[in-house]
């Protein structure tokens, strides 16, 4: 599992600087991945979240199976259509008592059944990405990677709006928002190794502290213990791959994210994720393209000449002009996803490409933003899961099929021996 040097012939920089952005990244990522030099690479899972749902009438494809027509919003997927699966009629059960948007984002990947409520009232338990990471992350330097392209600095909403990945209820897997930080985390090997002796001390200290605490606090402290252990393992595994990583000769992103356009920001984050997946530094990743609701206006460069409030627009879609603007925003998000999918498909791996070994899911926890409903959630899965996924189709499930069925199928495709997740009623037939 080596990212071979010759693929990166000259010193490459993830610039994040307008037109020059894509080129050096493609160079790094083009060519042959050495995730596994001869055999097919491992199957990897990634999730791309879009908040506030999508305009329904422009989302749904008109037929099922292989001969379906991509809907207007899904049009950007045309170039990768053969490696993409569109899924409809997948639902989540909405639980009363907590905010519709908060629950939509925080519980999208949750493995909790609707009657398993956290003390805060959310059906929120370990999310599917973390369930998979707990197993497949045993073999990689980083157990999982959580990224967010949340551009807001006004801290308007609570953690439930800003996170899709959770270790358990009340225990969020915090995401990184700054591409530079992501870069440093993945590639600054020396910084990691220097901390080994310090970690030993604090781990001891934490263990001794356990005896002084009651049960509830011990549970809370276990988050700390678990984190220290994970970082320790990370250090060992990163150290083993030190030479390889040094050999990558890539420089951190230059442009601050605050100065990036929306698409630059999302693409740079996506590039970093792809790089990590390609080099097999991790096999599970989540990216939030934007946090849920957050009714603050946002500039979407090149799309609107004024900042727009995505959430506010979903409530104005009765108006034809607002609806068509919202459709273009939906399409923008699909484009961002499609661009990342296309990049994955350019990276050779085994007999195919990285994409062939991916399960890369695009989705939202709400279907219709104006109604706050969780039925028929917009869902697209890119990749072939190493052959386990028969792509190029529109799969329409029976009405009322829990989306947990999809998560269960994924877990199985990732090699986990599970037969049930939350309210799942069985796995989807995707092979």
């Amino acid at each position: 599992m080596i990212c071979r040097n010759r693929n990166i012939s000259r010193r490459s920089v993830i610039r994040g600087a307008g037109a020059t952005l894509a080129l050096p990244m493609l160079e790094i990522m083009g060519g042959r991945s050495r995730a596994r030099s001869s055999a097919a690479g491992p199957v990897r899972a990634a999730f791309f979240y879009v908040p506030n749902g999508v305009v329904q009438r422009s989302w749904h494809p008109d037929a099922t199976g292989r001969d379906y027509q991509l809907s207007p919003t899904l049009k950007p997927l045309e170039p990768v259509r053969e490696k993409v699966t569109v899924l409809t009629n997948l639902d989540r059960v909405k639980v009363a008592g907590t905010d519709g948007h908060a629950q939509a984002g925080a519980c999208w990947l949750s493995s909790a059944a609707p009657d398993e409520l956290s003390p805060a009232g959310y059906p929120l338990k370990k999310t599917i990405d973390q369930i998979i990471a707990a197993e497949v992350g045993k073999q990689t330097a980083f157990r999982s990677l959580e990224l967010s392209c949340n551009p807001y600095e006004d801290n308007r909403e609570s953690i439930y709006f800003d996170n899709i990945s959770w270790y358990g209820h009340g225990h969020v897997a915090r995401s990184l928002r700054d591409p530079k930080e992501v870069f440093n985390r993945l590639f600054s090997v020396k910084d990691h190794v220097a901390n080994k002796s310090v970690l030993d001390v604090v781990l001891d200290d934490a263990r001794s502290l356990e005896h002084e605490l009651g049960r509830g606090d011990r549970d809370k402290l276990s988050e700390y213990l678990e984190s220290v252990r994970t970082v320790e393992k990370q250090i060992e595994r990163v150290a083993k791959r030190q030479n390889e990583i040094d050999g990558l000769k890539i420089a951190p992103p230059v442009k601050p994210w605050q100065a990036m356009s929306r698409s630059e920001f999302i693409q740079v984050m996506g590039d970093l994720m792809i790089l990590a997946l390609r080099c097999d530094l991790t096999r599970v990743a989540t990216v939030m393209s934007s946090p849920e609701r957050w009714g603050s206006p946002l500039t979407v460069h090149g799309l609107f000449n004024k900042p727009v409030d995505h959430h506010g627009m979903t409530h104005g879609q009765g108006n034809a002009r607002v609806r068509s603007e919202l459709e273009s925003l939906d399409r923008f998000h699909v484009e961002q996803f499609a661009t990342l999918v296309a990049k994955m498909d350019k990276i050779e791996e085994g007999e195919g490409t990285l994409l062939d070994n991916m399960i890369f899911t695009f989705g939202s926890g709400i279907s219709d933003g104006s109604l706050h409903v969780y039925t028929d959630l917009p869902t697209v899965v890119a990749g072939r899961a190493g052959g386990a996924l028969d792509a190029g189709r529109h799969v329409k499930s029976a009405q009322g099929t829990p989306i947990a069925n999809l998560w269960l199928s994924m877990a199985q495709m990732m090699g986990l021996g599970l037969d049930r997740i939350g309210d799942s009623t069985g796995s989807l037939k995707l092979g």
């Binding site: 439930y160 270790y167 002084e212 603050s296 409030d309």
Partner: protein, 867 residues
């Protein structure tokens, strides 16, 4: 059911103000803390009114002897004068002392006070840049108000060299005014008598049931109709109510807010309302009396702001460890000095919302903060349940500690470099380990806020010894240990040791809760030594410590951490009023980047700080006759088109603005509800958003947040021009959209609070009518009880029913202090704090003392085994 009578006797918890008062109470008369002479009149040069060429100059690179690390710098030719002003709070005799800067290109000056020369010559020449000796100008009689002070450039020392051939400079570090005998004491409001408590009405359960039957059963029980899961009919005896405290709490909430019955025509009359309220209170009290469960405060990690303060205080750093956007106000001078009893008349501050360079300067290369901890849905960002830990957090803490201790500036940034980090001079390497042991014993106690256990000490010592054995020098090894300390769970978490039953916190735990409440930081040496001696829990000692912490400049954390979050001020940063319609909100024509409106973000915070420092009534947050504003903001608040005729508004400063205390004569201004910042942040780009504003008032001011909105929210046009074009006001359109009873009951509560503010447009400026000429209807009823016609009427309604706002404020403060959400069992504590607030007319320090001495603050809950 006769036993109910005694229950009702317990129910005197809802304080109703004495309505026989003929004149409303003037909350401005509440002035707890007296102006302390001496430090009261310390006016930093950099905070003085600046005219002509005067500007601020940072002085740090010349040394750290300048107060506030900066001074006022002026430049002119002979004959010119540097002019400024400072305020005097009351007529009387004062001593005037100057602290000047001297330098090779400074001139000599005469000093003029209120147009008469009081000193012939002050020579500011010196071969090197330095502080002068203090210049004692003598004693002067001054009247209340602004005093003019001028320095006339008369010439220069023969050795001085002029700038540009003929100009000389002046540097003023501060002016100190000491009151000798003032003709009148500063205004201290006489403490009003405690308002009368309402006597519980004699009632029995049958009476209560009759009222319920008449007004509530139809929807909540009869014929199987059970709306909102509330079946009151099924509760056929008092005992059954007592067994359903949650239901009783629901009943209490809707009664307090007059939310039910939902229809205007069916409202309860006052006697019935009070009967039900007392009954419900009694049920809750009865329940809590039998089953007093103190909720557990979850083990919580420091948040980003607290971590900064804790590291700063532990390592005695000169400033912050990383740039903190949480600090909205960047202070140039040390204007915040609660011991002075007076917030300065004018303050020069930076506003971080106006640019990244306005974040408190960071002096350490390479140290960057972790991501901010987000606030709870209706609370603060200090709750253990939400302050999680993850591998990324661990990496962040390690990274911060390493970059901090390793930064090139660190050794000069900490005051304990020689006493702690450096090896003592002339001591052989062989005794380093023993010295380290002594030093670490004291250091770990402070870092962990607990007695140091032998095994814990040994652990950190082993790390030190291992480093030394491997050839490291003393400082390297010490830094490695500190790196581990700063990432240790004993440092990062606020730890309260397990108990089987509810007991008072131990002394160390109490010190920690208190310092995190008032300073957002670890206890200092004095608190720790009291804790060590077991004396902090002595009520007298404790009370004095609460006061001491409040008078310490570190109490600014209450503004930076509590007030900012309480008001949700961050929202303003993202407000984007439509550029074409509200161009005045922006600084520069044709430029959407610079928002003049962001200057207003500081206004509510400075009001809050003045209330803290001057120990005034928190009611001024509703209605104040003064406010801190920049010159631009004074213009902004004036009616009519502001900044008229100025083709280019490029001139708006962003680099440190002077906020001056302005009298507010129009009661539609003043306080936080009607400040531009909160009004503008709760609007949408093209129009006001009365529901958002109303929900904000309900949540922030009264701590009664509305329930989450229903799934299907009717669409309202984003632009009010379109609504008005159809001859409708926004209010009419919204009312039209309330389709069913469940909408109505909630909106009845929120809407009036938002519509009362309709006279303020989407950027918070006053308007008499809508743009289309349609009339604005701001009428409403507060909690179904107090009618008002406009926003001034709303303020009167709040002032005349002080328990509503005081309760909200006290609940927010207690929740912040505890780091958890409040529960029913906190009700007796809240009632006690509320009654203290009412008795002192909302005096800030009284509320803080009461919160800090409340039962839930002083005690910890038993550890429940898993149920």
């Amino acid at each position: 059911m006769k036993s109910l009578t005694w229950v009702l006797l317990l129910a005197g918890v809802l304080c109703v103000p004495d309505e026989s008062q003929s004149k409303p109470f003037d909350y401005h008369s509440v002035r707890g803390r007296e102006v302390i002479s001496g430090s009261a009149g310390l006016y930093e040069g950099e905070s003085l009114v600046m005219k002509g060429t005067s500007r601020i100059q940072g002085m740090r690179h010349f040394g750290n002897q300048w107060s506030g690390d900066s001074h006022l710098l002026w430049l002119g030719v002979i004959g010119d004068a540097m002019e400024t002003e400072f305020p005097i709070p009351a007529k009387g005799n004062y001593r005037l002392v100057l602290q000047m800067t001297t330098a090779p290109d400074y001139g000599f000056f005469s000093v003029v006070l209120n147009n008469s020369e009081i000193r012939e010559k002050v020579d500011l020449y010196s071969a090197q840049v330095a502080l002068s000796a203090e210049v004692d100008l003598g004693e002067f009689h001054m009247n209340e108000g602004m005093q003019k002070l001028a320095f006339v450039l008369k010439g220069a020392n023969a050795k001085a060299h002029a700038k540009g051939g003929k100009q000389y400079l002046l540097g003023l570090d501060f002016v100190r005014v000491t009151a000798l005998d003032t003709d009148k004491k500063p205004k201290t409001g006489p403490l009003p008598a405690r308002p009368g408590m309402s006597k519980p009405l004699p009632a029995d359960f049958q009476q209560v049931r009759a009222v319920l039957s008449e007004n509530c059963f139809e929807c909540h029980g009869e014929g199987g109709t059970v709306k909102a899961d509330v079946n009151l009919l099924a509760l056929s005896s008092l005992a059954e109510y007592a067994q359903h405290p949650q239901l009783a709490k629901k009943l209490l909430d809707v009664l307090e807010m007059r939310e039910m019955p939902p229809d205007e025509d069916d409202e309860l009359d006052d006697a019935d309302h009070r009967l039900l309220l007392n009954f419900t209170n009694a049920v809750i009290t009865e329940h809590l009396g039998r089953d007093n469960r103190l909720p557990k405060v979850a083990l919580r990690r420091m948040n980003r702001y607290e971590y900064n303060n804790a590291v700063r205080d532990l390592l005695q750093l000169k400033g912050d460890i990383y740039p903190l956007p949480e600090k909205v106000i960047r202070s140039f001078g040390k204007y915040y000095d609660p011991a002075s009893g007076q917030l300065p008349h004018s303050v020069r501050v930076g506003n971080r919302a106006l640019g990244k360079n306005q974040i408190e300067q960071h002096l350490l290369t390479g140290v960057s903060p972790f991501a901010i901890d987000l606030q709870s849905e209706h609370g603060f960002n200090n709750r253990g349940e939400e302050l999680g830990f993850s591998p990324i957090m661990m990496e962040s803490f390690l990274g911060i500690a390493r970059s901090l201790l390793g930064s090139p500036e660190f050794n000069g940034y900490t005051a304990i470099d020689s006493s702690f980090f450096s090896a003592p001079g002339g001591v052989p390497r062989g005794v380093w380990k023993r010295i380290a042991k002594d030093r670490l014993t004291a250091f770990l106690e402070k870092a962990f806020r607990a007695p140091v256990k032998a095994d814990s000490l040994a652990r950190y010592l082993r790390l030190f010894n291992g480093m030394i054995d491997a050839g490291a020098d003393f400082k390297q090894a010490m830094k490695e240990v500190v790196c581990a300390v700063l990432a240790s769970p004993r440092f990062l978490y606020l730890i309260e040791r397990k108990r089987d039953n509810a007991v008072p916190l131990d002394n160390y735990e109490l010190a920690t809760r208190l310092s995190f409440f008032l300073w957002s930081s670890i206890p200092d040496d004095e608190l720790l030594s009291l804790a060590r001696a077991g004396r902090l829990s002595d009520p007298d000692v404790y009370g004095k410590q609460v006061e001491r912490l409040l008078l310490d400049p570190r109490s600014k954390a209450l503004s930076e951490n509590f007030a900012r979050q309480w008001l949700r001020l961050d929202r303003l940063i993202a407000a984007v009023p439509d550029f074409d319609r509200f161009e005045i909100y922006y600084s520069r024509i044709g430029c959407e980047q610079w928002k003049l409106g962001l200057q207003t973000m500081i206004e509510p915070l400075l009001l809050f700080e003045s209330i803290m420092v001057e120990d005034r009534s928190v009611m001024l947050l509703i209605d104040s006759n003064y406010s801190y504003r920049t010159g631009d903001m004074v213009t902004w608040y004036k009616p009519g088109v502001p900044f008229k005729g100025k083709a280019n508004r490029n001139r708006f400063g962003t680099n440190g603005l002077v906020y001056t205390r302005q009298p507010v004569n129009n009661r539609r201004e003043g306080g936080v509800i009607t400040s531009t910042a909160t009004l503008a942040m709760n609007a949408s780009p093209l129009r006001t958003s009365p529901i958002t504003r109303g929900a904000w008032v309900a949540d922030v001011i009264f701590n009664r947040p509305p329930k989450p909105p229903p799934d299907v929210v009717p669409e309202i046009e984003a632009d009010d021009a379109k609504i008005e074009a159809e001859g409708q006001t926004l209010r009419q359109r919204l009312v039209e959209h309330q389709v069913n009873k469940s909408c109505v009951s909630c909106h009845k509560r929120i809407d009036p609070l938002g519509f009362a503010l309709e006279n303020f447009d989407a950027v918070g400026r006053w308007r008499d009518e809508y743009r289309s000429g349609l009339k604005i209807d701001a009428k409403g009823k507060l909690f179904g009880k107090a009618r008002f016609d406009d926003v001034v009427g709303l303020k009167d309604a709040i002032i005349n029913n002080p328990e509503w706002f005081f309760r909200g404020f006290c609940e927010h403060m207690l929740s912040y202090a505890l780091g958890r959400a409040l529960e029913i069992s906190d009700k007796p504590a809240v009632d006690k704090i509320l009654s203290d607030a009412l008795a002192t007319r909302g005096r800030f320090s009284a509320i803080i003392h009461s919160v800090a001495s409340s039962y839930p603050f002083l005690h910890k809950a038993p550890e429940k085994e898993k149920e």
